[in-house]
Symmetry: C2
């Protein structure tokens, strides 16, 4: 079973490492616009063979598109235009609605499976790829009714081999949920980093004092714009909706402090503490 991997970054690379370890694939054929990334991936034995775009499509049973989500929209159409009835295409992007919509009327729509393995770090590129990245995390497969059963079955096997928990979800719902669970965290981290960089001119002091709490809250602020600008663009409405709510929640803290209403401040914190019961089930 040959896998064609378009994009050998953190996500594609980590998938490839695990699928090879599980001997799920006989060969991983890779294409990437970055020669440096391809060479690194080859040296780390993440991939078996570097190929042209056309060669990859011709020789792979399943094609995994692991690119930033705006590039995914373009490349997905190019792949669908070229595959046979028996080939499968999947993407792993963090947004699903726009990507699914763009292929709605494509004659090969049913050969495509829209999915999102929910893992990532602030790092990128094949050097950051790691074999057990996805274990025990959620993999979302969107709108399975729009894909052939054999395609869904195959993608399911991939995520099972990555040791992930598979969920099925409508693409629009997926984007709404990920705005809350993932996208807003990145915006708050970015804004927090910018706040500190704006207010704190003594860089050495930031570095010396930074406690584990600060590091974990601001960790996502290291994430690259090449990945995140396209996500925010595609999920604009949901992200704005959550961002507005977040600003109004912060204003409640501001108001409690300004009015020295410490009972209200305590209430706000006790409410936030409820997240413990949800996350630590």
């Amino acid at each position: 079973m040959k896998i064609g991997l378009i994009g050998v970054g953190l996500i594609g690379g980590s998938m490839a490492l695990k699928l090879k370890e599980k001997k799920f694939t006989s060969e991983i054929i890779a294409f990437d616009k970055s020669d440096v990334h391809l060479q690194t991936a080859k040296e780390r034995q993440i991939i078996d063979r570097i190929s042209s775009f056309e060669g990859l499509i011709k020789n792979s049973q399943i094609i995994i598109i692991a690119l930033p989500v705006e590039a995914t929209k373009v490349v997905l159409l190019e792949v669908l235009d070229r595959i046979s009835d028996k080939q499968i295409v999947m993407d792993v992007g963090s947004t699903k609605h726009e990507i699914s919509k763009i292929v709605d009327n494509h004659p090969k729509r049913k050969n495509y499976v829209a999915s999102h393995p929910m893992w990532g770090t602030e790092h990128s590129g094949p050097n950051a790829a790691t074999v057990d990245a996805f274990s025990n995390r959620a993999a979302v497969i969107c709108n399975p009714e729009d894909s052939y059963d054999f395609a869904i079955e195959y993608v399911k096997q991939i995520y099972e081999n990555l040791d992930m928990n598979i969920l099925y979800m409508d693409a629009e719902k997926h984007d709404m949920h990920t705005a809350y669970i993932s996208h807003i965290s990145h915006i708050t981290s970015y804004a927090l980093a910018n706040t500190v960089l704006e207010k704190e001119r003594e860089e050495d002091t930031i570095f010396q004092l930074a406690s584990s709490g600060f590091s974990s809250t601001v960790r996502l602020a290291k994430s690259h714009p090449e990945m995140w600008v396209p996500i925010f663009k595609q999920n604009k409405e949901n992200v704005l909706d959550v961002l507005n709510e977040h600003i109004s929640q912060l204003k409640k803290f501001k108001s409690a402090l300004e009015k020295e209403n410490f009972e209200f401040l305590e209430e706000l914190i006790l409410n936030a503490n409820k997240i413990r019961g949800i996350l630590d089930k």
Copy 2:
């Protein structure tokens, strides 16, 4: 060398564990208003002996106050009123200006060392105490000129035995820096948790989808109000200052999204990425 520990929670307990491991102390005598905490600390061998408040002061060479910062203000005065010229008192609270100010004119002021070991987790109580909590983190000693040299020397030895990096800082400056580095992270985490709890009614979905990014950004939202309301109260002006800046930074993201100004969005993210260079020195 006998240490009197007032408050056997996460911080006091973790300090005691390490100081015992290093054999820095012959006995840890403890007082806490919670009998449950005292019993747990005794069972875990965090402390050697439970004592009355008066008994603890009488029998300890150094007294460590490890309480929430409002309680620290009260207890510190009570301790200073009772100690001899040769005894030392230190606190470990997250705010330093108000606590230092309150003892400014106390005849025993020079027996007191204001300090802040910069570590914590979202957990609390002696069950959460851990022996290597403080290793390689910063310990701030404030206004050392207001303390006897022998007192500073002793507190320095304590932090050295906790394997911490010692910094000296003016108490007002400490509170300004910690507002940026620590206190604001807690408010953004609390507000993020409240945002998700407000917007996301499907609790199971939060739990299933929560990726590592979300968990790390929202982790601090599990922290208890008993500790954090007093910190925000004492550091109100600095926290408000940073919170206002943070809200205005978030509004830049909002504006970039609303206007679909993705170049500006990229700029904001690239600026935030600079935190990488500061944290990963």
